[in-house]
Symmetry: none
Subunit: 417 residues, 2 copies
């Protein structure tokens, strides 16, 4: 953990153990870790470790390790009716208790099949087996009830079904209240993520890490994504406010959101606030900028027209780029970007138009204009500004980064208006 760590309750040490060969073969994404992590953070708790093992005997080995290390283990999967579903048996061995068929669970199981006018198979019977001394966690959405084994050997165990539509409701109804009781707290810390765009992780870190470290009781984390960096603050609300204030003082222009909003959501919000409409003229991004804008609900209030002018003929035909400008400066030039933006603004009647023209690669580069070169234009009725940058990345990442960069340039441009 970071040196200035305090934080979310380590009052209870919690681990997740996900079982299922399909998770390790990569045929199914393991979304449970993410989902449970989020739910625990909302409760002021956090996961210490997450482990995935295949179906079979590896479950018992890993569960024994988790039990020896932690105070709560959440196990998902392996409660089904087939021969490779052995989580119940593994838990019984680790805890040294017996399995017993539970009459109430058996009734629920039979009712589940009756309700669907289906016949229960003999293989389903074992789904009514419960650890002695444990609680049954009802599963209205499937055949596998969950099991809660209260602390024994210093550790409580929850056995939970794998399918998300069964796991999620069971977590809320049965697991969360028991966890709160175990932790004995309502909420010990808050988490806030500040998003910055147009700033590298190292640039952010260099300026802010030392001053943040002086705020007692504040835990700090960094997470870089293509074109953005998130600063994670964990602590009590007032130390988070201090860190937040510091970050926004140092990087006011790069700050985008503190509530998880994406760059495009923030930009659409700003445009709506200022009552500006925007049009796009895209070459190398091929429609991605328009698509990002229209990912945001309510985008139609600020976005009406987009042009994807992939060919030169489309640049001259749709947004009025001059033949001689193309000939003199080439399609990837600030001059062409300026004409694209100006032309798109006039053709659309929008308040602002933005344009991009560049070389996405893998081919098409030259010494003068290597792959990754891009020219960006922003036009209003009063002015046009252009930018020339290099983003040497693979084709898809180039498109995504240029798109985010362009949206960010527009965000900065209108911030000054």
């Amino acid at each position: 953990m970071p040196r200035n760590c305090i934080l979310l309750a380590t009052i209870v040490k919690i681990e997740i153990l996900n079982t299922g060969s399909e998770l390790l073969l990569g045929s199914t994404a393991n979304t449970h870790g993410t989902w449970i992590g989020q739910e625990l953070v909302k409760m002021g708790l956090r996961v210490q470790r997450q482990t995935t093992v295949p179906d079979g005997e590896a479950i018992e080995v890993a569960l024994a390790e988790s039990v020896s290390r932690s105070e709560v283990v959440l196990v998902t999967g392996g409660l089904g009716p087939t021969s490779d579903d052995v989580t119940r048996e593994a838990a019984a061995k680790v805890l040294g208790v017996e399995l017993m068929r539970d009459e109430a669970a058996l009734r629920d199981l039979k009712a589940f099949f009756d309700q669907r006018e289906k016949t229960m198979s003999a293989v389903n019977l074992k789904q009514a087996d419960v650890l002695v001394g444990a609680d049954i966690l009802p599963n209205p959405n499937g055949t596998a009830p969950g099991i809660y084994a209260p602390p024994r050997l210093g550790c409580a165990i929850f056995l939970l079904p794998g399918p998300p539509n069964e796991l999620y409701p069971m977590f809320h109804a049965e697991v969360a209240p028991r966890l709160k009781a175990l932790a004995g707290v309502e909420q010990v810390a808050e988490v806030r993520e500040l998003k910055f765009v147009g700033l590298g992780e190292s640039a952010l870190h260099e300026k802010i890490d030392a001053p943040l470290a002086e705020i007692e009781g504040l835990e700090v984390g960094y997470c870089a994504r293509l074109g953005e960096v998130d600063l994670r603050l964990i602590g009590s609300p007032d130390v988070i406010d201090q860190g937040h204030q510091l970050a926004c003082d140092l990087f006011a222009e790069d700050f985008v959101s503190d509530d998880g909003s994406s760059l495009e959501e923030v930009l659409v919000h700003h445009l709506r606030e200022k009552n500006f409409t925007i049009a796009t003229a895209e070459s190398c991004t091929g429609g991605l900028i328009a698509s990002c804008l229209t990912d945001v609900p309510g985008a139609s209030a600020i976005f009406e027209y987009g042009f994807v002018t992939y060919a030169n003929a489309a640049k001259t035909g749709l947004v009025g780029v001059k033949e001689e400008t193309l000939l003199k400066f080439g399609a990837v030039s600030e001059e062409v970007a300026a004409e694209m933006a100006l032309g798109a603004r006039v053709a659309s009647g929008a308040d602002i138009a933005v344009s991009v023209t560049g070389i996405a690669g893998p081919s098409g580069g030259s010494e003068d204009k290597p792959v990754g070169t891009v020219c960006i234009g922003i036009a209003t009725s009063e002015e046009v500004v252009t930018y020339r940058e290099i983003h040497p990345r693979n084709r898809k990442d180039f498109k995504r980064q240029v798109s985010q960069r362009t949206l960010d340039l527009v965000r900065r441009f209108i911030a000054e208006k």
Copy 2:
């Protein structure tokens, strides 16, 4: 494991150790386990265990356990420039070796910043630190080089960067060849993934699972994604060929690729082969279809013009939809989709034009046209066909699904030409 399981080498015991507090807090989905699992399966290898730990000292503890248990450990994350990036240090302690600044790595690091016309921060220096006796794995896409520590204490360690756009190319270029050498086999089983589009997972499963189960030595897996389903066949080349043949006999029209090619890659290839150009007129997908097409290198040969006609005025102004058609049938209608496609074809001079108009939501639906309704048009100089469908999903998934569905309709349309 699937009942007809054979194989994949447990010749080498491989573990994945993912580091990063954001993974356990649930702010970032852990996609690395899935992705690496898939890549290893393709090589005839499989993962024994996957663990996630937070940044900080937990890395050293977990790495020591993994090293004691396995023959290869793939560690992701914690190679960044900030104070919570401590994976290098943890590996040095576990292996009992020193870290040394590597001059070649330092040169690469400086070149990375120079190429982007940026200044390197002092905090980046430690990214050139390497375990004594280890190989540097070059990272052309980021500042953190990977590290390969050859077997010591019976275990080889790969330290890999967290960002996917850095990890994936490094895995292919640097990790895969070394893993093959460590495993001492070229390939013990082959893996082939057949991609089908326009077909549900259960529909595929229902028809094909029983006949595939009769092919001895064939392991089968299914993976459904938005609008597509992959059928994974694992076994010797000849049993895979049998399964492949069976699948393609049953689902000839839905089959898209057997080499990992995406739907848009296959479509661009077909269009180039037939020497067709295509134009797009998009309302509800907001440019996403054009963006998908232009994700494919060489798209400029078949795609020149795209129109994003988000507002009604754009539909009439850019692609000649008639006011009375809009008034009579509404913007989301097969009639408007037809006129959009016809108009886009004429305005662009393309051989084929495709159009979409629909209700992405969350608002804007009616009883007659609920959220998720979409009308799609395909026009050539000779005909126009339209489709009306409902895809009730959240806004982004709706856009993605409609975009894929539209590309698939074009694929089917030109297959008949």
